[in-house]
Symmetry: D3
Subunit: 282 residues, 6 copies
């Protein structure tokens, strides 16, 4: 799903430009004429899935309205090292001022999209979906979740407010999973689903009895997961969570779970390197 570039994202872009540029680039302002025009090519320096192109227009627009950005590909496309993904044409100063910020967005979001694609491909023989988590970079939540979608993954909830996840403290406070789910159902928006985190099969059964929409198998081993899947028997969605790696994900999928979530998609994906080569007098 495409992203709407919201006011919050626009603010992040402005803040990012501001922390890099301040009142100007000491080298560029002193050496490049205000009216010099040029063209910049954004090129992948590694193989990967590109994400973040959708931001380029806004990044350069905030520096100088006259920069024209052309996307040669769409976010979500797998690219080879060397591929030119976009070009920006306009005042050279603006290109140089926006270069690093643009690349910093591209490299990080493409990193997440690329790792997601790898995990999605690893389980492509199964019907299970790869989910993200709330372990995202502060301030980049919606962008990183967009990158996950561009990699072929599926978003878990956005935050604490749009869907409910019942965990140990909630259960302790109410006395039981059943009571916790009941309390949440009573207060939450009627369109919000309720998931319960279960640490063992006993809790799985309780979550099932409590009518959870989804049950999260928290750090279970493969045998436990398989048993839980059998127990649940399609009466609720099943999410495997905890320590998922590119190596282990296929085995997890084989247990029959519906969803596999991975914090690494957003907190530990290696960046995909891009550069921007600017030709002057174009």
């Amino acid at each position: 799903m495409d992203i709407h570039v919201s006011p919050q994202i626009e603010r992040l872009i402005r803040d990012s430009l501001d922390e890099d540029i301040g009142a100007g680039d000491l080298a560029t302002m002193a050496t490049i004429a205000a009216d010099a025009r040029g063209k910049g090519l954004f090129r992948a320096k590694k193989d990967g899935v590109v994400a973040g192109l959708v931001l380029l227009d806004r990044i350069f627009y905030f520096i100088d309205h006259r920069v024209e950005v052309r996307l040669l590909l769409k976010d979500g496309t797998a690219v080879k090292s060397g591929t030119v993904v976009a070009e920006a044409i306009g005042p050279v100063r603006a290109l140089l001022l926006g270069e690093r910020t643009a690349l910093n967005f591209l490299q990080r979001l493409s990193g997440t999209a690329t790792l997601t694609r790898k995990l999605v491909d690893a389980v492509k023989d199964f019907s299970c979906k790869v989910l993200d988590t709330r372990k995202t970079t502060p301030g980049l939540r919606t962008l990183e979740k967009y990158a996950v979608r561009m990699g072929g993954g599926t978003n878990h909830r956005i935050g604490l407010y749009d869907a409910a996840l019942v965990k140990d403290n909630h259960i302790e406070a109410t006395g039981s999973i059943a009571e916790a789910v009941k309390a949440v159902r009573r207060h939450a928006p009627f369109m919000a689903k309720v998931e319960v985190e279960a640490g063992d099969l006993k809790q799985v059964q309780e979550a099932l009895d409590a009518g959870a929409d989804v049950i999260m198998l928290d750090n279970m081993n493969l045998a436990q997961m398989a048993e839980a899947v059998t127990l649940i028997n399609k009466r609720a969605g099943v999410e495997a969570s905890g320590g998922i790696t590119l190596e282990s994900i296929r085995q997890v999928a084989e247990t029959g779970v519906d969803f596999i979530s991975s914090g690494a998609l957003t907190h530990s994906a290696p960046v995909v390197d891009f550069n921007m080569k600017i030709t002057m007098n174009v």
Copy 2:
């Protein structure tokens, strides 16, 4: 050097909380009483160097003024997996609302501090310093540069505005390195140093002649670097840049360069995992 929690950082913290919490946690608000109090322990789940503790107080303060945060260690401390680094005491709701945001900051900044420490240790037999770059996460520039310092690294410039780096486009526009440096010196603040990016020894010589304060050896091999160091002969600072890894850094240091910069410190450091265990009725 400690960090001043600036308005920009405070805004990032608020935005981070907002993207996670919105108008409230569906599960927590429905199950935890408003007056329930508890204690949360932040614990490292891997070995590493901790960074970001200095933000905890502000994170929870923005949720609820009544949360009291106690730091058991200082940022920059190497910790073993299992070490409790901080505790937060107050309304359980506030602890649960701030948990994920606090951990997201801690894991990422500690990741950068930890990778920095490894590189710093790898060259501890040399006088050269490990530098960061501008390849940072959008919006987190000053925090990530703080994490580099906590790891024992040294900050390069903050952005384009506080020191000058003369690169290919600037040289092309003015006709020569000499002219570019002259132009920058004429316009930049008198306290700002000027660095020149040199791709080969000819450019190193030109940069030297132009009176650069620092010369960056851009993607040179080890032999070239050594030759450049000899050529420069302490008349300017020497920075090695490009493709530095934990494996290669010691060899680079052996060439005699003064500074080694690494984008990986901020764009590809693996996170250091932390969790927060909340005990209720404390």
Copy 3:
């Protein structure tokens, strides 16, 4: 469910104070000494359900940290005209500066809570729930949805982003309800429910076949609603929408629908009047 006073709400409070106070009250600053202290009592001038008390502390805190607010009741309480619901003690200037803004929040949110309570009471013999809509006052979405909860109502989705409602344009674009629902399921977060707006029984059947979680009966008459409920037969949630009034809601509930949504809760609830009487030299 209680509300978390988010940065967005805090910004609204500050903007509200700013539009009323500017750089100060010409009458108060000229006549009341800076150190004069007093007590203000918030009193209902009509019967109703109070909502918005939770904001009072923040409103006065933003004017002067020294004001102490004491709530004598909780939001959601039914009060008689004349009831004192809260008191504020501190500098008289601060009390006078915050008075109107505090009352403006209270009267509006209590208006919504009160109308909600009336509709909820009207259908209390049925299991159906009263829902709000997105027809809210610009900038007050989360507060007005909180007021609905305080009145005993249930929130529909927060906005376009946390749950999906498939409407005519979406159906036209994809060719059918089935295709539209399939597209949404493929792209939306896995925790988001999907509702389909149906204008007649044929569309109800299609929505059912498409696997909608909830089906909205859009402006149907009572007979059609009853038929739709029978057709759906608990295989999806059923929401009645369009032109609901205090007079008609009971009849709608009798059709057996699960949910009845009303835009009037947030766009046309009469305010509940409150005043604030300030005693000086207390």
Copy 4:
């Protein structure tokens, strides 16, 4: 008087869009192609006076620069149910994303304009003017006062800072109306008028003696008002305030007061319903 769309109003528009859209519409983004274009017609569903059209351009511009808004009428025009008041042409996604926010502004501001027009018409045989109050929706002060003007009403002061209203606490603090007015005159901007709130004829006389520019008759009955008008005898403006209704306003005007203020204009005006019908592939 037309309104200047100030930064504060622009911020309100952005916040309103943000609270509804977040990172995107789950249904629209999944079903409507990014390049699909269409036309939306804004149509009144009840008779009334339209207000808020002046915001439409900015609302859609903030979503997508390419949307073109055409106003077919001006704010302040009386319309019949069914009248098309404006159209928006551009990407269908942007039309759907902005629809609800645009309607929420229109319905509320038109509600205020419509009620104002009714009160103004009710006293059209008299020279007295209909005023608004500070009982406005938090964050919408200047917009609601604009709607009052569009309905033919006259604005009272904007807030506490641009004109002075001397009330009981101010009088108590200074000892008398005379002293309070004197203190205000000494400190307030020289262009600011001073009004005094009088609860009985004795206070009216004191306010007159104190040289008040305007005297507010606070919750007086009709006989008292007439007597006060006679007493004041054009030596100050006279404002009737308190409990004005569409039924009672004509009688109040007959007492000869110059101004009649009504909080209901902004806190209890029924909305005027509008809808937006989007035709695709236009």
Copy 5:
């Protein structure tokens, strides 16, 4: 009249701190321990009228909540060079971080207060008042108008929105002063006064006939002013404007005008120098 430290002023304070401090003071953070405490004394280095003390508490609070500010004088007090006007006690780091910003506010606002006092004293034998203008420093409007009040001056309107000044373009557009005033009266808030700028006696007469509340004598010579005063004869306020200096103001007052406005109060007042001496280990 005291000032309310509004959100706009708080934002200015934060921005001012941010532009000076960024992520920290390179010298202070490296040399002063985080727990070192001290006391700073603010001392006037010239004679003058102090203004801006009211901001000190907020300036330091935004850096570190633990700083305690004690005002030894009130804004508006005339001080001799050497007088200590305030002290701040707390972490030395916070004192050093806030020092320059605090002094920058103090020196400028005291400069305006001091020049105002001189003009006010120069006409103390007359009943006329000294007014400010809209020629203020961008972003500091309300603070500079506060400084004028502290100097004993009177504020003209705050901006374009709270009182009306009819000038040449408005007269040209409507055809006459009479028409312009009528148009303004019809649209402006009922509490707003209307002033007309008159360039000669003919325009003075027209303004008088049009019922202006105040007439501005724009750049007239002394004889013209005296004639205008006679002509107006107390039927409207009279403001002299244009090229007022400390040398000429007494002569202007002798013409009998009610108000004399001076742009220099806010755009050309020499600063009053202050310093802050910090004693450590206190």
Copy 6:
């Protein structure tokens, strides 16, 4: 060096417009038709060096996108009284709304540029440079430093964060200049220069021994300065600071110092008056 109009500057412009315009100009909105177009000429009313033209486009753009601004000169140009420096063409309302704010920026920044030019000219026979300080107007730091550059001056550091100045408290805390400099070098970014403030020749020697990049001679007399220059002998930069006037600067330059800093450039430069004459129906 040109300035980049950063988000912080854009925010200042918006705040400046907002404090002057609010929801509209009472006189203009009532008398000038919305579609009336005109042309405004910005004209210098005194001789001086113009600065701030670069902001005009943004100022009017924020009011109305349709205003076209044409600069007839560049910032930094010396102009005679009467010179037209720019014109703005578009809706008359927008011209009138932006007039005062535009002039307020122009007059102040041109004031600083003009005073700077005078000081620069006064020492044009010497190689020394004229520096600004941190004694700037709150919120206008980067703009005022730009004005200094336009006057031919050189910027000192931007704030506390981009270069280090070691002063008395830092020396006291570490025990000596040598220790203070060492501490700063260990923690500061590697591109940041270190300056030491020296009150006498003994401190000059210590600063030299400590390896300071620049030594500030704080309030020394001419003889001391000359001695310090001899002592330093080009081994560090030398800055004279304290009480510099247009009368004294040449003598200071004769001592051989490299830099002379003046707070007056930004805190006490007389404004250069400009006006804007609007012709309607153009």
